[in-house]
């Protein structure tokens, strides 16, 4: 991995944007440009050159990296030490960066069992909307000094500050994994997954589509073998490829010429509208719909189940991508945006038009 600290250049770029009152479009590997609202901002702040590992101490289970570092480079480094990001971050391209991973706040198959990106974030170094370099959190697991600005950055789509460095908690890579499948309906799959959740099973990934439930067991070989006896199922070969196709959305489900909706729901047996094409993950807590049903219907459906819906990949719709916020909550978001980015120069409108 390249070692390249561009903090000063990035800060100068931000300060000159502040002087000229021109908003900035923050860019990493440009692999998630499809996500969020389209903004037409000419002044790009490219972070992809700002690379390198600031600190990595495997026995501390922590790493600090610059935001422009490529996710795949960092994952390779961790693998050499038999470690990983517990949340299995999706990468929608070779160039996906650590900064983009944090700003979008997306997690992969292991998320319900091992936590999300935000759960793994320990600290950040950012530049705020006044052009100041600030650090919050740190490299230790427990830290309650000051508000949790670090986790606030996760999923904020770059609208609250520019990430320079991020520190993460790491996890050892499981000794052994095995993926199995059952041919079952969505209803039965949901029932099975909810049942597993109630017990100490080594299940650490689930997905259902086209009448098949796929699940991964991870632990020691012996523990996995015993769980396999109890849970049954057919062994899936090349399982790593299988899960990375799901996670990175290369699977054919995600490449249909339809709107792809992401529903985030509580663990529930409620099954989605049968007319829609559906891919279920996270024990039913993340569901993907490939359909052109009107946005209002999908959003209402998600709300009725105490969840929310994101128009993740819009094929032919001009809808707002993110679930609308209730009035008072939106007002608080605006006040918070103003507290961190008073001139509104960071990705204005990328997440919601008011932010």
């Amino acid at each position: 991995m390249k070692e390249n600290d561009l903090s000063q250049a990035i800060q100068s770029h931000i300060k000159s944007a502040l002087n000229n009152k021109t908003p900035l479009a923050i860019e990493g590997g440009n692999s998630k440009s499809f996500l969020g609202r389209k903004i037409n901002i000419a002044n790009k702040l490219d972070l992809s050159g700002h690379q390198g590992v600031v600190a990595y101490e495997p026995t501390e289970l922590a790493i600090t990296v610059r935001s422009g570092s490529k996710l795949k480079d960092v994952e390779e480094l961790l693998l050499k030490n038999n470690q990983q990001f517990a949340f299995e971050p999706p990468a929608f391209g070779e160039n996906a960066t650590i900064g983009g991973m944090v700003a979008a706040g997306l997690s992969g198959p292991r998320r319900p069992y091992a936590g999300s990106v935000r759960d793994a974030v320990l600290g950040v170094k950012i530049i705020n909307g006044k052009g100041e370099i600030l650090e919050y959190g740190g490299r230790v697991m427990k830290n309650v000094a000051g508000y949790d600005v670090s986790r606030l950055m996760v999923g904020a789509m770059g609208t609250l500050g520019v990430l320079l460095e991020v520190s993460f908690k790491l996890q050892p890579k499981p000794q052994y994994s095995l993926t199995l499948s059952h041919t079952v309906s969505a209803e039965t799959a949901l029932k099975k997954m909810l049942g597993w959740r109630r017990k100490n099973t080594p299940v650490d990934a689930t997905t259902w589509f086209d009448g098949n439930l796929y699940f991964r067991l991870s632990s020691s070989e012996q523990v996995v073998a015993n769980a396999q006896k109890i849970l049954g199922g057919e062994v899936i070969n090349h399982a790593d490829n299988f899960w990375s196709e799901i996670k990175n959305q290369q699977h054919h489900f995600f490449t249909q010429e339809k709107n792809i909706w992401r529903l985030s729901l509580p663990a529930t047996l409620a099954s989605t509208d049968k007319t829609a094409k559906e891919l279920i993950e996270w024990d039913g807590q993340q569901r993907w719909l490939a359909d052109d049903i009107p946005a209002s219907e999908i959003r209402q459906y998600a709300e009725d189940l105490s969840g929310h819906a994101t128009l993740f990949r819009a094929e032919r719709s001009q809808n707002e991508p993110f679930h609308p916020l209730p009035g008072m909550l939106l007002k608080l978001h605006q006040q918070l945006k103003a507290a961190l980015d008073p001139e509104s120069i960071f990705n204005p409108g990328r997440m919601y038009k008011e932010l």
């Binding site: 101490e57 495997p58 026995t59 501390e60 289970l61 922590a62 706040g105 998320r111 999300s116 935000r118 759960d119 370099i133 600030l134 650090e135 919050y136 740190g138 230790v140 697991m141 427990k142 830290n143 309650v144 000094a145 000051g146 508000y147 949790d148 600005v149 986790r151 606030l152 996760v154 999923g155 996890q171 050892p172 890579k173 000794q175 909810l194 959740r197 109630r198 020691s220 012996q222 523990v223 985030s264 509580p266 663990a267 047996l269 996270w282 993340q286 105490s306 969840g307 929310h308 993110f322 609308p324 916020l325 008072m328 909550l329 608080l332 978001h333 918070l336 961190l340 997440m351 919601y352």
Partner: protein, 496 residues
Amino acid sequence: MLPDHTPAALSSEQKQSLINGLATLLPDNILLYKDEDLHPYECDGLSVYRQTPLAVALPETIEQIKAILRYCSDNNLPVVARGAGTGLSGGAYPLADGVLLGLSKFNRILKIDPDARTATVEPGVRNLAISEAVAQHNLFYAPDPSSQIACSIGGNVAENSGGVHCLKYGLTVHNILQLKILTMDGELLTVGSEALDSPGYDLLALMTGSEGLLGIITEITVKLLPKPERVQVLLAAFDNVETAGEAVANIIANGIIPAGLEMMDNPSIRASEDFVHAGYPVDAAAILLCELDGGNEEVSELVMQVRELLLSNGAVEVRTAESDEERARFWAGRKSAFPAVGRISPDYYCMDGTIPRKALGKILAEISRLSEQYQLQVANVFHAGDGNLHPLILYDANNPGELEKAEKFGGEILTRCVEVGGTITGEHGVGIEKLDQMCVQFTAEELEQLHAIKSAFDPQGLLNPGKAVPTLHRCAEFGAMHVHKGELPFPELPRF
């Protein structure tokens, strides 16, 4: 230490008129204002600092809290929220010109959903009561601060409480899904959701650990986990503290994440042994307690692995608890470490710094040097798995000047923690206690940004003012040098 808040100079007529105003909004028995009724509320777990508030309100409904907040907002009265009052940093220290808002009557468990593995509770519910209520479903709530018998979940959220199982199960922030909060102007908001994420900014994370400065928590939905099939504890003795520290690093380097990994030094071992007779080796320089949990076979494999690791890493003795009783006894010593130290010293002052584990030897050497310098004894209890250190400084408040000396000593320990790349507080919060050390950990710009975040929630600055984040004026007076995350300005110079 005192909050960064200058109380409004209220005449007794003004006070009476404010109390009367509040009283008209509330039924009888909700508002306390007589001196003798206020005394039980004059401090929290940081009991060396006491102050009676203008009034104590113990509301029973959300509407009553709203009415109190609106009245206080209109009359510019500060509001300090309080749960069970077990906090150790003075977060619930009352303000002379403010209302102490006690949430103890909000003590109902509203919903348990075993399929979703969640429980929705009111803020006054005790931490342990949640696990007790869901035990019938074979579930539990993971964060277990040592005060869990008494402390309330609302306070846990406000402080982002930890416990002995953080390395594996995380802090409060990792174990909650949704909050209902009231803003200072009485608006009820839902942050987070029953799903694993929610649209917009992560206000759930921002609220967690905000020490009552951003909003009043009125409802919490927590995540539950299936109870582990089996739990096993190993006790290892070492004749050198640093060797014990290296053993911890090696367990983790081998890809093992124990449920709990605790260290005690010799003074703590002796104090605990005298108190609860846990059977600890009293001549050991340090002991490690390593708890492993999970499925049956998984635990069997881990116990063998950890046992060998401990022995090959210099443990002079390793015991495995043979029964549930023995396991409870191993833990009893650790869990009673604070009261045990309380028996051998008239007073003790508990610190809460966190360090990267590799700095353990350096910090312990520094603590014993400072102990000599200040002529005050120290007993160390250490959440070794996650780097959270609790030095207990022994002192006698009856000796004039000794509390101040203990505080100064404690402050120096925290500064050293920041120097080695750690933090001034791992789980107890800043409150009023560590305001000065915040000046060490953060720059002026960083503190200003935190104040701006508070203003976004509470523009009048009425929620728990003067706590958690110091004013720049205070930092200037304290004269602390900001230590830049482990990088000292002149690292080659000796420091005294």
